[in-house]
């Protein structure tokens, strides 16, 4: 598969599956920061992405939800990262998702190039895309 003229490599995709626990959302941030560093994001962009992925996760689960968050981080071309997050509720648990949070939406609007939310294969899904601003060194 070719994105922006660059062949996609297996290392361009990172998948993370974490139980819905507040103390584990930090793993979603750490993974985003690691990939952003590899793509050459500057310090401010890395911090933007860390916060944005946190908000992405928070947009899918309510306090007390039981299940797993699955995150897929994709390096797109030389300067862009896409992150998709889906919530897989534990058997018997609802998958309604919290109502949109105004503060969270404002943060995502300001920090990423694109973001959205939908249902996919019966699960709540949220995604974002952020492009590096500076030219690669």
């Amino acid at each position: 598969m070719s994105i922006s003229g660059r062949e996609m490599e297996p290392s361009d995709v990172i998948e993370l599956s974490i139980p819905v626990r507040t103390d584990l959302v930090v793993l979603a941030r750490l993974t985003a920061a690691t990939l952003a560093t590899r793509v050459g994001f500057d310090v401010e962009e890395i911090e933007d992405l860390r916060l944005a992925v946190e908000e992405l996760c928070l947009s899918l689960v309510r306090s007390g939800d039981d299940g797993r968050l699955r995150l897929r981080y994709t390096r797109e071309g030389d300067d862009q990262i896409a992150i998709e997050c889906s919530f897989e509720p534990a058997p018997g648990s609802p998958d309604n998702g919290p109502p949109p949070d105004d503060l969270s939406l404002r943060i995502l609007d300001a920090l990423v190039d694109e973001h959205g939310r939908s249902q996919k294969e019966g699960h709540s899904r949220a995604w974002l895309r952020k492009r590096r601003s500076r030219t690669a060194v």
Binding site: T22, V26, R50, L51, E55, L58, D101, L103, I107, D109
Partner: protein, 116 residues
């Protein structure tokens, strides 16, 4: 960067100062909420929250601070924030909360305008 989350409190003649260090996120924000609620319930209408050592905060943290501000104002006081790090200030700016909170660059500045 020290990511350890910590809350400490001290009394000043003008108002109590609650100092937070580390990352305020969905895991740690409830601790801050509980401490601020206890302060207001204990009779402190005006509180200074020192965020100088905070390295990260999310919408959960903002929600906690907004809730505490509301309680302080209902009690006739205010919740004053101390922020110097541009990255933290940016989160308040993009959410429009710089128009809502009284934000100061130093603890002394936040306390300075309060009666002692």
């Amino acid at each position: 960067m020290d990511q350890t989350f910590d809350i400490s409190e001290r009394e000043d003649a003008a108002a109590p100062v609650v100092t937070v260090a580390g990352e305020i996120d969905v895991a740690t924000a409830p601790s801050l909420r509980d401490r601020l609620q206890a302060r207001v319930a204990g009779g402190d209408a005006t509180i200074v929250v020192d965020l100088l050592q905070v390295s990260f905060l999310d919408s959960t943290a903002l929600g906690v601070l907004v809730g505490a501000l509301k309680r302080c104002r209902e009690a006739g006081g205010d919740l004053r924030l101390v922020i110097a790090e541009p990255r933290i200030l940016k989160v308040f700016e993009i959410t429009g909360l710089t128009e809502v909170f009284s934000i100061h660059p130093t603890v002394e500045d936040a306390l300075g305008a309060l009666p002692r």
